[in-house]
Symmetry: C2
Subunit: 220 residues, 2 copies
């Protein structure tokens, strides 16, 4: 992995944990790298310690169990996931004043925002996605954030769009599902399944926006 710019790790972490000792930071850094490469269950604490350049005991000085370390890594990612939806600016910026193409603008803003987020946090998101399947606490925490923060914003966005633009007569949840899976599908394909493909990101994003817009537009 690249040496420079490990700042983002601290950046993500300090939502919940304020200050990490240098060795603790090294532990988190090593854990993220190995967890994302081999998976949580296949990673041993001795390996993390070795990679971090600390004694194995040091891990357990800061984290009660190995799973505790995982949780402390994964939970802040869930918080960060919801951040753009918490910003009131997010919706206001789009529906503010001028009359430009609302639907496209909203989608473009959302996609570029999440595009940068995923780009910055591929390793962490890999861990989150993988381990969500096996740890119900993570599942529930994610569900809470989504249902309470993201979902309402999405729903009110669709409601506003329904008035301004002419949208197809699908249930709101269905429209949401289609839009979200298309965006998430793009990001997963782009950064996880085929990260080495020669992507023309701006073009692909515009195609994706057009696909969703037309797919949800009411066609007489």
């Amino acid at each position: 992995m690249e040496q420079l710019d490990k700042e983002w790790i601290k950046d993500v972490m300090d939502i919940s944990e304020k200050e990490l000792t240098p060795k603790q930071a090294k532990i988190v850094e090593a854990a993220i790298e190995i967890f994302s490469e081999k998976g949580f269950a296949a990673t041993s604490t001795s390996e993390i310690a070795k990679q971090a350049g600390v004694a194995e005991g040091t891990i357990f000085r800061h984290y009660k169990t190995k799973k505790d370390l995982l949780i402390s890594i994964v939970m802040p990612v869930i918080s960060k996931f919801a951040v753009p939806f918490l910003a009131e600016k997010f919706l206001l910026e789009v529906f503010g004043d001028e009359e430009f193409e609302n639907f496209d603008a909203l989608l473009r803003k959302l996609i570029y925002n999440r595009y940068e987020f995923v780009k910055k946090n591929v390793q962490l998101l890999k861990i989150l996605i993988q381990e969500m399947a096996y740890h119900s606490e993570i599942q529930e925490s994610f569900k809470n954030v989504f249902v309470n923060i993201s979902l309402p914003k999405f729903q009110s966005a669709i409601k506003m769009l329904r008035e301004k633009d002419q949208l197809v007569d699908f249930p709101t949840e269905t429209m949401l599902r289609l839009a979200v899976t298309t965006i998430v599908g793009f990001l997963i394909t782009r950064f996880i399944i085929m990260p080495d493909y020669d992507w023309e990101d701006e073009k692909e994003i515009e195609y994706t926006i057009q696909f969703i817009r037309n797919g949800l537009k009411d066609i007489k």
Copy 2:
């Protein structure tokens, strides 16, 4: 898990392995269940043996290593994944003779076909998806099947549709990506993320078809 109808396991297996001894079948059955619940790395051979009601040594009589057992479970799923694309009937049935709405018909056929496949094989697909992330042999085998079997069929289908219907001017790979992620997104949401939600499958499938069709239709 349900007791009845464990036939599908044998059904999937016997693509590569012809006959399993009763105890071997029990081992495979138990392994599938535990792998899909806890993940490959977190599952011990002693647990599999216990659940299967055999001695631990019996596992290694039939499979050289624990990973061997995983591979023998996962590989046939990849084969089965490609089956509908191998059948020449598949495309012929859709583009055969009459002039009905080609695009919708093709999508509907494809989605219902994969819907049934996923419904039957959720556990196996969970294992495949999860372990693909960590085992490069599985990755490569899947990639081979996709690139050599599924992809060409998709591409020729899009080519044929481009002539008959009016499709948007996206690159073929982009159209493919959008359609595939939408379908896969639906199936994963339906069977893995929210299997307990009160789905109205036929309606959701029709919405999904309409979404893809309009999303890829050329709008003047």
